[in-house]
């Protein structure tokens, strides 16, 4: 079997994405995404799927044992199901392993956000910090993003202006994405002049919350061939995940080691030696504007990401389009589901179904996640058609 062509995404589905999905429960969002994905893959979920993986975190769900609430709305009643307390791309990694391990030749991955239900988002973020040494009473948990941004800019030589260009680019890209709710035409000045939340980080450099669910159907090569209906399979050519220390005091805030390490491994699996020439586009984490720059560098897409973005090389018509979908800055942050949204948008691009955002004949992309503050964890995947 050719390397990088053993496991494929054969179906994708999404619920509606919105800043607030009022009146619709997270289970109904999941059901909507699932129905779309199974129809896209051309499968009968109750008979064909041998393994289900959800990605959710109890505090964001507002429910302990939240995993127990997942089966029915994705067709997993009395089927093998487990929930990954991690981001959606980690779920894709598990699906990849399930297929290769022979657990099932058809695996479903789901992740969602109903952030509009979470009225104390800051408190949930704060509770992610170490109780003895990381939580600072009365202080906004994004203090860590402020610390990291300043350190990263200092070490990398990128500028605050460069971070503003990330926001301008992604929000402009989002205007062409019918699923994006945070599109805007801004200037660098609009970004830099917005309220300082944790200096130097300003309000407009922070992705805003969004609701939605994404379901991805993953298959073995043989199964993908048997299914091959209307969709070309999107191959998971490489996937890897790393965690650095959870201790804020010991973190290397100057670089994203979880991303550079997982990228090295994922590239190796996908036989990518020169990402700059072998990758056609990237959908990567931009929870905060500076993180996109840090991740571009970690993924080896540019040495000086700031200049790369501000000179237009990451634009849809640039050398490597980055977050053509609008990213989290343009589409919203779906917490654990953000990266599965990136994978969904990537699959559409590779299948040539990205509408007004469609790039010219892309063959291969990199999708990357970060689990947010206060973590140094993330996944990198290479998808190809």
């Amino acid at each position: 079997m050719p390397a990088g062509r053993e496991v494929a995404i054969v179906g994708i589905g999404a619920s509606k994405f919105d800043s607030v999905t009022s009146g619709i429960s997270y289970k109904e969002l999941m059901y909507e995404a699932a129905v779309h994905a199974y129809s896209d893959a051309g499968i009968d979920v109750r008979n064909d799927v041998g393994s289900f993986i959800c990605c959710a975190e109890d505090f964001w769900e507002g429910n302990s044992i939240s995993d127990e609430y997942m089966p029915d709305q994705i067709g997993a009643k009395l089927r093998p199901l487990f929930t990954v307390c991690g981001d959606g791309l980690l779920g894709l990694a598990h699906a990849y392993m399930h297929v290769l391990a022979g657990v099932s030749d058809l695996v479903v991955v789901e992740s969602h956000s109903k952030l509009s239900d979470v009225t104390s988002k800051d408190l949930v973020e704060d509770l992610g910090f170490d109780p003895h040494f990381g939580r600072i009473p009365g202080v906004e948990p994004k203090y860590l993003a402020g610390l990291e941004m300043r350190r990263y800019l200092e070490e990398s030589g990128n500028t605050h202006e460069d971070c503003a260009s990330v926001v301008v680019k992604n929000k402009r890209n989002a205007l062409r994405n019918p699923r994006a709710v945070y599109g805007d035409n801004l200037s660098n000045q609009d970004v830099l002049a917005s309220e300082e939340i944790a200096s130097p980080l300003t309000k407009r450099e922070i992705s805003s919350p969004a609701d939605g669910s994404v379901v991805v159907v993953v298959a073995s090569a043989a199964k993908a061939r048997r299914l091959s209906g209307k969709n070309k399979p999107v191959w998971v050519s490489g996937i890897s995940w790393f965690s650095d220390t959870p201790n804020v005091e010991e973190m290397d805030l100057g670089q994203a080691l979880y991303a550079s390490n997982s990228a090295r491994k994922a590239y190796e699996m996908a036989r990518i030696r020169k990402p700059l020439t072998q990758i056609d586009f990237a959908e990567i984490d931009d929870t905060y504007a500076y993180k996109e720059l840090q991740h571009i560098e970690a993924l080896g897409l540019a040495k000086r990401a700031g200049k790369f973005v501000s000179s237009g090389k990451a634009d849809p018509d640039g050398q490597i389009p980055i977050n053509v979908s609008g990213g989290s800055l343009g589409m919203g942050s779906f917490v654990e589901a953000s990266a599965l949204v990136r994978a969904y948008e990537s699959a559409l691009q590779l299948r040539g179904e990205a509408g007004k955002m469609q790039l010219h004949n892309p063959k291969r992309c990199v999708v990357q996640s970060w689990r947010g503050i206060p973590t140094q964890s993330g996944v990198t995947a290479v998808l190809s058609i």
Binding site: S15, K16, S22, G23, I24, E28, Y31, E32, V35, H36, S39, G62, S120, P131, H132, F133, G134, I136, P137, G138, V139, E140, K142, Y143, G146, L147, E148, M149, R150, R151, E154, E195, E196, I197, A198, S199, P200, L201, T245, N247, V248, E249, E250, L253
Partner: protein, 150 residues
């Protein structure tokens, strides 16, 4: 599939989660906090790879050894690794810094005493402890870090 829409206002249950925990600091954390209460800073040391951990741990994340050695942290080696001015729900903004110490893995998070002078990256600082009677054996026993001119 038909688009799911909501025509009528559907009820929302408002609730909160009043959870309580007693977080155990552990062997290393407890010792560190006891010493902190006395106004002392100690790190645990790995005898294999010579790393000093602050806040202390009983394990080395690099070589996986168990750590039993303790060493004073040279307070005059403290510097600002990064800092941020944070917006608060109420009251004035606050300066938060991650302070590191030469030759130490890790460091301490704390408040930075504001002065007319803008803080700088790499700025030398020193920890200022609360009055002995006010200390509680928590990280906040360090009231703030302040700039020093060595």
């Amino acid at each position: 599939m038909e688009k799911i829409t909501s025509e009528t206002k559907i009820g929302v249950v408002k609730d909160h989660i009043p959870l309580k925990y007693n977080y155990t600091a552990g062997v290393a954390g407890d010792r560190f906090l006891q010493l902190l209460k006395q106004g002392k800073l100690q790190a645990s040391q790995c005898t294999q790879c010579h790393k000093l951990y602050l806040p202390p741990k009983i394990f080395c994340k690099d070589c996986f050894s168990q750590l039993n050695e303790w060493k004073d942290v040279a307070e005059d080696s403290a510097y600002v690794y990064s800092f941020t001015s944070v917006k608060k729900e109420e009251g004035p903004r606050e300066l938060i810094a991650l302070v590191k110490f030469d030759g130490v893995e890790g460091g301490l998070l704390g408040r930075l005493k504001s002065s007319r002078e803008e803080p700088r990256m790499g700025m030398k600082v020193r920890p200022v402890f609360k009055q002995k009677s006010e200390r509680t054996g928590e990280l906040s026993d360090i009231e703030y870090f302040e700039k020093v001119n060595y």
